[in-house]
């Protein structure tokens, strides 16, 4: 087995790297672009000229219309998708949402275990392949959502890397899943 030296850094290396700049300002234009991007996503407010009282009143009115539309749409879908799922999706506090994750996660694991058990018989290979892809896609979608909650989490990033690496050489599965809601 090849042994890798622990540290072969010498004084010349240290001197060279110590002289490197540790900071670089990308400039005001980039800052403004990022602030604008955050505002467009509703993550920042304030500081934009021309937003007087009337603007906020109009915004509130638009929000009410959107909210009303959203509720109506939600009820319409709720009737079609079943009371239980909607009750879970409506969870408004963190504990309730976490419990919903646990319940549906357990159901997912149980379903994959059942699928694995049945597909192990090797009778229906075409559907087994399809089932594996679905299972991985759902896992990827969940990891992508988790990445939003904890963007510095290396485990989620590693999972996404591994899934992406699994796609190499399989162009049919190469479409990236950006954000997807699974019912």
């Amino acid at each position: 087995m090849r042994t890798i030296p622990e540290d072969d850094m010498n004084d010349a290396d240290r001197a060279a790297y110590a002289g490197l700049a540790h900071a670089q300002d990308p400039g005001r234009a980039v800052e403004d672009r990022i602030v604008l991007a955050l505002k467009d996503r509703g993550l920042l407010y304030g500081g934009r000229p021309g937003h007087g009282a009337m603007w906020w009143v109009r915004l509130a009115a638009a929000c009410l219309v959107l909210f009303g539309g959203g509720v109506a749409l939600g009820e319409y879908h709720g009737e079609r998708r079943g009371e239980q799922r909607l009750a879970g999706a409506r969870g408004t506090d963190v504990l309730e949402a976490a419990m919903f994750v646990q319940q549906t996660g357990s159901a997912y694991v149980e379903a994959v275990a059942r699928f694995s058990e049945i597909s192990a018989s090797g009778r229906d290979t075409a559907h087994a392949q399809q089932g594996r892809e679905v299972a991985v896609s759902v896992m990827e979608a969940a990891a992508t959502e988790l990445h939003q909650v904890a963007p510095d989490d290396p485990v989620t990033a590693r999972l996404l890397d591994a899934i992406a690496a699994g796609r190499v050489g399989n162009p049919q599965r190469s479409a990236p899943i950006v954000r997807r809601v699974i019912y």
């Binding site: 890798i4 030296p5 622990e6 072969d8 850094m9 290396d13 060279a16 790297y17 002289g19 490197l20 700049a21 540790h22 900071a23 670089q24 300002d25 990308p26 980039v30 800052e31 672009r33 990022i34 602030v35 991007a37 955050l38 505002k39 996503r41 509703g42 993550l43 920042l44 407010y45 304030g46 500081g47 990445h147 939003q148 909650v149 904890a150 963007p151 510095d152 989490d153 290396p154 989620t156 990033a157 590693r158 996404l160 890397d161 591994a162 992406a164 690496a165 190499v168 990236p176």
Partner: protein
């Protein structure tokens, strides 16, 4: 490290709270000013110096960070947390490009070609020529001061991989930067081996 600026009485946490509670633009701009230069430099080095790409990644980093701020527990410093996000976003950037920087085992990459003197003296240019995996580990270890364990955890690689990538990166950097005369090929002006593969 630019944590809580001595010029401002407000801590990073005060500013972050103002962003979370009211989406305060002034607080965000202050946080941005404190941390962006270091994070931007790190991103640029990890991806090999492409400014436009680094700007895009930086934007994604801040969007992710502001979205996730309510969940941040302050068990680490804001700077450490933001660095973690920057590393993950850079990995996402590699993933989107189909790059697998830590799978590069091409030994030819260890041997440098002859570069023009001015470029050889430019450490940043030499860094940018390294394959992505080696460059990233060298930047995180030798410049940012992370340990091999931290790098392995952040990048999802084995500790041994981090060590071997660093060993190879240092060798390549020395080969780049050593005077051409000592390598005995300066007179010919021809590269002494296959061109150094620049990977992303």
């Amino acid at each position: 490290m630019l944590a809580d600026s001595p010029l401002s009485p407000l801590t990073d946490r005060d500013l972050a709270d103002a962003v979370v509670a009211g989406g305060a633009e002034w607080a965000f701009r202050e946080l941005y000013a404190r941390h962006t230069p270091r994070v931007f430099q790190l991103i640029r080095r990890m991806i090999g110096g492409e400014r436009a790409d680094a700007e895009d990644i930086l934007q994604d980093v801040w969007i992710q960070a502001v979205r996730a701020l309510p969940q941040f527990r302050w068990e680490a410093t804001f700077s450490t947390w933001l660095t973690g996000i920057a590393i993950n976003q850079t990995r996402t950037w590699w993933r989107r490009r189909g790059a697998r920087p830590f799978d590069d085992l091409d030994e030819r990459a260890l041997i440098a070609r002859d570069l023009p003197l001015a470029q050889r003296l430019d450490l940043e240019a030499a860094l940018a020529q390294l394959p992505a995996g080696r460059r990233t580990v060298l930047v995180l270890h030798d410049i940012e001061g992370l340990t091999h364990e931290e790098i392995a955890d952040r990048l999802g690689v084995a500790v041994g991989t981090s060590k071997s990538q660093l060993f190879a990166a240092r060798r390549a950097m020395r080969a780049y930067l050593e005077p051409a005369a000592t390598r005995g090929s300066a007179a010919s002006g021809e590269p002494r081996c296959a061109p150094f593969p620049k990977t992303t």
